[in-house]
Amino acid sequence: MVKLTLYLFIFGMFVGCGGQLQQLAVETMENAQIALTSANAMGADAAAVTSLRTAEGMLASAGNALNAGDAEQAYRLALRAYLHARIATEIAIAVREEARVGEAQEQLTTSEQRVSEALQRLEAIKAELEALEKL
C-alpha cells in the first residue's frame, strides 16, 4: 500500500494535471502489449501476420506519441493496437480450428470407405445365400 502511494505520488509529480489521460494511455498500451504476447503465443506470426505487424506498428507509434506528450493520441493508437492484436489472436485460433476440420474430414472419408467395403462383402454373402437357397 505504501509502495502504491509512493508510485502515485511520484507519477503525479512527473505528469502533473494531464496524469489521468496519460495513465489511461499507459494502461491501454500495457493491455495491447499483453494482447500482442498472446497473439504471438497463438501463432499469429504465421496465421495473421498483417494484423500482428499493424498492431506492433501502432503500439510503437503510441509509445512515440506518449513520449512527445500527446497522451490522447497515444491512447487512441494503443486502443487500435489492442484491437489489431485481438484480431490477430482470434484469426490464429480460427486457422487452427479450421485445420482440425480438415483432419476430421480425412477420418470421415476413411470411415466411409470402411462402410462401403463392409457393404460390398455383405452384398456378396447375401448373393451366396440366395444362390444356396435356389439349389
Binding site: K3, L6, Y7, I10, M13, F14, E30, Q33, I34, T37, S38, A41, R76, L79, R80, L83, H84, R86, I87, E90, I91, I93, A94, E97, E98, R100, V101, A104, Q105, Q107, L108, S111, E112, R114, V115, E117, A118, L119, R121, L122, I125, K126, E128, L129, L132, E133, L135
Partner: protein, 549 residues
C-alpha cells in the same frame, strides 16, 4: 472495399476540389461503409447468435459513429467507425472458430455413426455366414451320399461363425471404449503417463484377448467394469485440458505483465539504479518463459509472479532513485541559473553606468539596480527561483531603459540631422535632454518684432519638421536674445515680443499644437560671447530648444 473507398475519394476530389473538410467527409463516408460492410460480413457468419458480445459492440460503435456524424464531430465519428470495423473483424474471426468447432463435432459424430454402421454390416455378414453354413450342414445331413466327415466339418464351421458373431457383437462396446480413450488422449496428451490411462489400456488389451479366445462372458464383464474407468478417464482428461488451458493463459498474462514492468523499469534506468534486482527479475522471467515452453504452465505462472514481485521492487527503486537524481539535477540547474542571472544583471548594470542610460532613464535604471540587490539577497537566502525571477525583472527594467535611451538618442540625432538642412539656421547641437536650434542674423528689422520676409521659409521649414510624427511629442521653447546695445529694459520687452512672434508663427501658419510651445524674451541677460569683435551679432539670436526627455 477499401479500393472503392479511395476511388470514391479521388472522384469526389476531382469534382469538388481539394479542401480539408471535404476530404474529412469523404474519408468518413468510406470508413463508415467499411465498418458497415465488416458488420454485414460478421452477420453472414452468424456472429450475432455465436458471438453476441463482440457483434453487439461493433453495432453500438457504428451507432455512436452515426451520432457523432450527425453532431458534426467528424474526427470522433471516424474513430468510432474505425473501432466498429476492428471489433467486427474480431467477431468474424470468433464466428469462424465457432463454426469450425461445430463442424468438427458434427464430423466426429458422422465418423462414429459410420463405424457403428460398418460394425453392423460385419455382424450381418457373420450371421449370414452362419445361416449358409447351417443350410449346408442340413443339406449334407439329409443327403444319403454325404460322408460323416463333411457333417463334422460343417458343424465346426457353424461353431466358428457363432463365435465370430459374438465377437462382432462385443467389438461394438469395445470400439466405444477405445474411441473414448483416444478422445481422452486427444484432449490431454499427458494423460498417457497416468496410471488410470495405463490401467484402461491394459483392460482394453485384456478385452481384445478375451474376445479373441472366445471368453465372451469374461469379456462382457471386463467391458462393463472398464466402461466406468474409461468414462472417468475421459472426464479427467477434459478437466485437465481445461485446467491446462487456463494455466497456460494465466502464465502468458503473467509473463506479459512482467515484460511490461521490466520495460518501464528500463525507462527509469533500472540498470543503473537497481542492477542486481533488475538482473534477478530478468532471470526469473527467463525461467518462467522456459517453463512455458516446456509446458510447465503452473510453474511458469509461479516464476512469472515471482519475477513480477522482483520487477515491481526494481521499478519502485529505479523510480525513486531516478526521481532523486532528476530532482538533484534540477536543483543544480536552478542554482547555476540563479547565480548566472544575478551575475549577468550586475555586469550589465555596471556596463551601462557610464552611458547616458542612468541620466536619461534614471527611474528604470534605479529599479534595475534595486532588483539586482533583491535578487542577490534571494540568492544568499537560497531562494533560487525568486532570485531568477527578480533578476529577470531587473533585466527587463534595464533593457527598457537601454531601449528608451537608444530611441531618444536616435530621435535626437535625426532631429539634429534634419534641422541642419534648414537654410539660415546657424547652429544645431545635441544637449543632454534637448536639441538646440540657433538662428542669428536679421530675423527681425531693427527695433521691430515683425519677422523679416527672408526668414519666413526658415521658420516654415522648422514648423514642418517639428510637426512630424517622430518629434510631435516634444515640447518647444523659443528664447529670444538681444545684444547689449541700447536700454536693457527695452531689449527685454523687445525680445519678449519677438519670442511671441516666433511662437505665434509656429501656431499659425506653422500648425504646431499651442500646448507644446513656450516663449521667453531674455533680452541681453544670457550672452554667449562676452568679448571680442562681433560679439553683439553673436549674442543677438533666436534659440529654439526641443526637449526630448
Amino acid at each position: 472495399m477499401k479500393f472503392y473507398g479511395w476511388l470514391l475519394l479521388l472522384a469526389y476530389l476531382a469534382v469538388f476540389g481539394c479542401t480539408v473538410p471535404e476530404i474529412d467527409e469523404v474519408m468518413l463516408a468510406t470508413q463508415l461503409q467499411d465498418a458497415q460492410q465488416a458488420i454485414k460480413s460478421a452477420a453472414e457468419l452468424e456472429a450475432e447468435p455465436l458471438v453476441p458480445e463482440e457483434y453487439g459492440r461493433a453495432v453500438k460503435l457504428l451507432n455512436f459513429a452515426h451520432d457523432s456524424q450527425e453532431k458534426g464531430d467528424i474526427p470522433q465519428s471516424a474513430e468510432f467507425a474505425y473501432q466498429a470495423e476492428l471489433v467486427a473483424q474480431v467477431a468474424i474471426a470468433k464466428a469462424r472458430q465457432h463454426q469450425a468447432r461445430q463442424r468438427v463435432v458434427e464430423m466426429r459424430e458422422q465418423v462414429y455413426q459410420r463405424i457403428i454402421k460398418a460394425q453392423g454390416h460385419e455382424r450381418e455378414i457373420a450371421r449370414i455366414r452362419q445361416v449358409i453354413t447351417e443350410k449346408q450342414l442340413a443339406r449334407a445331413m439329409s443327403s444319403h451320399g454325404e460322408e460323416q466327415q463333411v457333417t463334422e466339418q460343417l458343424s465346426t464351421e457353424i461353431a466358428d461363425l457363432k463365435m465370430a458373431l459374438r465377437q462382432a457383437e462385443l467389438r461394438l462396446p469395445y470400439t466405444n471404449l477405445e474411441s473414448l480413450t483416444n478422445a481422452a488422449l486427444y484432449f490431454y496428451p499427458a494423460i498417457e503417463t497416468t496410471a488410470d490411462y495405463e490401467r484402461a489400456q491394459v483392460a482394453l488389451a485384456s478385452i481384445v484377448n478375451l474376445i479373441a479366445r472366445g471368453d465372451f462372458d469374461e469379456a462382457e464383464d471386463t467391458i462393463a467394469k472398464t466402461e466406468t474407468r474409461v468414462n472417468s478417464l475421459y472426464e479427467l482428461a477434459k478437466q485437465r485440458h481445461e485446467r491446462e488451458t487456463e494455466a497456460k493463459t494465466r502464465a502468458w498474462i503473467s509473463i506479459a505483465k512482467v515484460e511490461v514492468i521490466i520495460a518501464r523499469a528500463q525507462i527509469f534506468n533500472a540498470k543503473t539504479h537497481a542492477l542486481s534486482q533488475f538482473e534477478e527479475a530478468n532471470a526469473q522471467l527467463k525461467h518462467a518463459m522456459q517453463a512455458l515452453t516446456d509446458g510447465r504452465y503452473e510453474q511458469a505462472d509461479q516464476f512469472a509472479q515471482q519475477a513480477q514481485r522482483t520487477a515491481d521492487e526494481t521499478l519502485a527503486m529505479a523510480e525513486i532513485k531516478e526521481f532523486r537524481q532528476r530532482a538533484q539535477a534540477e536543483l543544480d540547474r536552478i542554482t547555476t541559473q540563479a547565480g548566472q542571472a544575478v551575475r549577468t544583471l550586475g555586469e550589465k548594470i555596471a556596463g551601462q553606468e557610464k552611458t547616458q542610460v542612468p541620466q536619461l532613464e534614471a527611474k528604470l535604471y534605479g529599479l534595475a539596480k534595486s532588483a539586482h540587490a533583491a535578487a542577490n539577497s534571494a540568492l544568499t537566502a537560497q531562494e533560487y527561483q525568486t532570485a531568477i525571477e527578480t533578476a529577470a525583472e531587473g533585466n527587463d527594467y534595464l533593457e527598457r531603459a537601454i531601449a528608451s535611451t537608444q530611441q531618444v538618442t536616435s530621435i535626437k540625432s535625426d532631429l539634429v540631422a534634419v534641422a541642419r538642412e534648414v537654410s539660415q539656421v546657424s547652429e544645431v547641437s545635441e544637449q543632454q535632454n534637448s536639441v538646440l536650434i540657433r538662428i542669428h542674423g536679421n530675423v527681425f528689422a531693427f527695433g521691430s518684432a515683425h519677422l523679416q520676409e527672408g526668414f519666413l521659409p526658415t521658420f516654415a521649414h522648422l514648423a514642418e519638421i517639428l510637426r512630424r510624427t517622430t518629434f510631435r511629442d516634444y515640447s518647444i521653447r523659443i528664447e529670444s536674445h538681444t545684444s547689449s546695445l541700447g536700454n536693457a529694459s527695452v531689449n527685454r520687452r523687445l525680445s519678449m515680443a519677438r519670442a511671441d512672434t516666433v511662437k505665434n508663427y509656429f501656431i499659425d501658419p506653422g500648425n504646431i499644437d499651442v500646448k507644446r510651445l513656450t516663449a521667453a524674451g531674455l533680452g541681453e541677460t544670457q550672452p554667449i560671447v562676452t568679448e571680442g569683435t562681433g560679439k553683439e551679432e553673436q549674442n543677438h539670436r533666436i534659440d529654439i530648444i526641443i526637449t526630448t526627455n
